[in-house]
Symmetry: D2
Subunit: 336 residues, 4 copies
């Protein structure tokens, strides 16, 4: 980190700061500019809270130099991580498409959807058994019964499934059924939950919070990685902005940014990213063109009867068109 | 809710929508405009997902008419709610000031702070034993030992205390010690946690998420209220915007908005709202002038040595000045 | 528009609102719900300020039903508009690529760039002669000399050029030289300027403000269209959000949204959308995959010596790779 | 500025950067850390574009140390600036209250309002003759006739007036009538306009753009100051965020931040800051409590008939209550 002294800071103030830095085991490098003296801290200072220095006499501000994440960083782990679930490899040459309904509703619904998305070319089934809803009066998911229905759909279709886990105490239950655990956007900074999924060996799909920075997403991945679970895939699902014509703003920039900074695979969720089925296919194509390792898409056989998120769900036939279009683009960017 | 049909929607499409609405037990009111036909749904339609209708043939969009919260609304509960903890009444004529360090660090630190803030005029002690930190490498709080130290500081000072609870399984432990449970901003939509604190009788201070609308805050309060705990106070603590000179943007508008829409008391947190101690006193005054029922302020005897949030912590003597200034403004707005 | 009365509004309040609506020449449709009475206004009410009704006794709120733009809307003009400049057709089957430096600096720089981008496959040259800069101490552009150099580069390369105009009084001068006028993001709501370019026949590239909604962009287009100039192309260039790793957040959703709502062509600017050359190619591919009608890209022969925006400028050889990749994706989406 | 080299940058890359910095007339200070080499640039480097260095071989990023504004900074001008118009002193001990309608509509309306707000305690009249409207179909202001009516209201009431100027060519006309020129939020970065008002001697009220940072506001003030006009007052009028219950989010933090960084006076506009008259008085009180030098408030004798912004306009009697409440708080913070 760099510590910038105020204009006119005294020699005594400067030496006070230097003494403090050295007392913490770091060396310093002093640079007396025309307007400001600057103190460089030499060593890995990420464990120190910068605000300790912000408050010392004569300090104007501190500036971090190192990125705060380590295990999630490509600096530490240059080659791409591949997360495998039941033979499906996320982060390898092949684009992985996950699809299914927002909520598991009935056995017929989930089995029918699983067969349809498999037929259309999906490799992973998605579906929620525990649903975080902003209203306590909305449908909250079928719970364990939903997990059982997902398992039945897996058996019928051969597709592994990903499903959301909402609290640390649900982790053992959901892990018993699921092939991949999803951490939803609202729980991206639920650290107790991150630590709990960091202690199992099941792969994790970590969704970006709707108003979280890319850096915070990587720090949340760091929680899981540093707790012992290296099988993490990230998911960009749109952020909250002032724009009102769409439910969220898909941060397409995040795809190349994350690919550059981290070795973890990145999945795009254009269903939440747009919130309207009419725009899902266009944004799915964009995600693959930008370099995403896969997609997660809401598909429902009868969106107008869906118990949640119908407006952003594709019917199976439209989903099949999406897959065809996306696979062509995947080839253009050297994937399959 | 109102269902707006597309320009040129056919009579068949209109009657299809009407049939669907009626099948759900509601009546309709049809209005054929020059450009659009509009279908009003008569009855309390909050339990239905609007997207069911968005997807019907010929529908352009749906517009909600009722606010989604009920128990948190002043419509249902016109008089102000007063939340009492150990004799301190939040939401009554007197402004309530909560103060203390971000984190509990040592017995000396928390007892010294408790005595100092009491002397300066605070009525409630704050301090974190479980700390949600964006980095897994940062100090995560003392845990139960921190709760014991808070209890010791309560005994020494006579001040009740509020402290954060981060997961459902911590609720019994924290409830055993604390006078008020804090739900932090990052957990505002951790629904498992909201339901857990909704099942105890301890008062709850619910902080607004940095990415959450006022409506979502009131919906999260609704989770607690509808789970059985009516003792909820809300806290505005700044939202995330594009502005970079401050850590967050204090949403001062939220104070009069919440007071109009809800009967629940509102506390302002200018420490997180600004992120810099230099601005805390000015924004604290603003909060009381705008009608807040109280303040929660970070105070540390030695901010430059604080284990977290030092940059936004006031020294006890500055905090005492803040209290004096704020009490004068409280009188101007008819409080004490 | 729909007028929602407060819970318990009296019959007298309702009839007062009805009388007011009718006095303005509209008919009403009354719908008495269980909780609220709703008054539909029948007719094209876009010229009326809704707030007139918001303030009437007993009114809770008003809700607009019609979109506020007309000439920019696909409702009024279903087929795609094609904007031609000197033989280049924006909005037709072929993707149009505009490229060149942020600022015109020297004759050599602009002529060399024009020849290089033409060689790589660009159809339009871009370059700024009048530069809006946030600091008065930064380079403000060469002014008319820059226009002359652009004209020289056009002669040398055969490429028509687009360049920014910053104030109404510059319009005659810039129109004398340029093939297309650019309205920059900071001027999207400079209505005097919009009206001025609406009165000439030169094509206009209207960039979205970094703080503007899609609806506001279409309303600004409406200013130009309704002033008499139908030759308008829109440009998505990234919006301002809380994310810090990129200069702006490219709103990729805006591409399919605008294509659905409006007949005007849409160009993507991934250079400003990301702010870093490393991410420009990935986001350019995404834009074409999402359905954009073209791209505008900053290219400089020596970015490290550019007088502005070097960090987001591509070198000609990287730009050539971008064009190759983008043309492949164009084919996949049925373009060329 | 500080230039951070990439991990593992070679000695040759470092010396290349050093040579480049020195070639521009600056000295350097080298600091070789454990993970990164850092190069400090010594001297006032604000005129150089940092991106020149960002692109040099081996550079990871650059970090500015100096704030980009000079004349607007308290560093250069420690004492408060007082802007006087016709005897009213903005920025001195007395709080200045500006009030009047959004738009000038008729002689009766503006004269009646001027007399009413004067009676209630306002010192400056406000009113728009040229109106920036997002729709070309909305009322655009009376133009010069509006200026004449404002002058008539001034004569009747004795109050000086502030009114908006929207383009450089309007500056001579508006200056002929007005006591203070307003630059509206949408024009905060209309640099041609800033330079035009920088060349007259009339005081300027510069409103913050709805999605502009405080730094950008101060840079826009710098344009006016550096063009030769030192009589600038700033205005916080709410920023655009994701919150939907209010029209904008009043950035109350901006008040103490600007007072610390700049010597220019700051006025708060709670009418635009909230967008609803119900919240204006509470937020006006908050602004004065936070240290604002004054307020600008929309007042209309018949808000329900206002031609624009009726929803956020106070009736004269409510405005009188606001003034009384605000003056009490002014005393508490040592103003009058």
């Amino acid at each position: 980190m760099i510590i910038v002294m105020k204009k006119g800071a005294s020699a005594k103030q400067v030496s006070g700061v230097v003494a403090r830095v050295e007392s913490l085991g770091y060396r310093v490098h002093l640079s007396a500019g025309e307007e400001r003296t600057i103190i460089g801290v030499i060593g890995d200072d990420r464990p120190i809270d910068r605000t300790h220095f912000d408050l010392l006499d004569g300090v104007e501000k501190t500036v971090p130099i190192l990125k705060p994440f380590k295990m999630a960083s490509r600096d530490m782990h240059p080659q791409d991580t591949i997360v495998s679930l039941d033979g499906v490899k996320i982060g390898g040459p092949q684009i992985v498409i996950m699809a299914g309904p927002c909520s598991v509703e009935t056995r017929e619904q989930i089995v029918e959807t699983a067969l349809a998305v498999k037929e259309a070319g999906a490799q992973v089934l998605r579906g929620g058994a525990f649903k975080p809803r902003s209203s306590p009066y909305s449908f909250q998911g079928l719970g364990e019964e939903g997990l059982e229905l997902l398992a039945a759909a897996r058996e019928a279709s051969g597709l592994p499934f990903v499903t959301e886990v909402m609290s640390p105490e649900q982790v053992p239950l959901v892990t018993r059924y699921a092939d991949m655990l999803q951490i939803g956007a609202r729980n991206m900074q639920n650290y107790a939950l991150l630590q709990a999924v960091g202690k199992v060996s099941c792969p994790v799909l970590l969704k970006r919070g709707m108003m979280s920075t890319i850096e915070e997403l990587l720090m949340s991945a760091e929680y899981i990685l540093s707790s012992g679970n290296p099988r993490v895939a990230l998911c960009e699902r749109g952020i909250r902005t002032f724009e009102k014509y769409t439910r969220n703003t898909t941060d397409i920039n995040a795809i190349p940014v994350i690919k550059e900074m981290s070795h973890l695979p990145v999945i795009l969720d254009p269903s939440h990213g747009t919130g309207k089925w009419e725009y899902v296919t266009a944004v799915a194509r964009a995600g693959i063109a930008a370099g995403a390792d896969g997609l997660i898409i809401e598909v429902h056989p009868h969106p107008e009867e869906a118990w949640s998120d119908g407006a952003q769900s594709l019917k199976p036939e439209r989903f099949a068109q999406l897959v065809t279009q996306v696979r062509k683009i995947a080839e253009d960017v050297g994937r399959c």
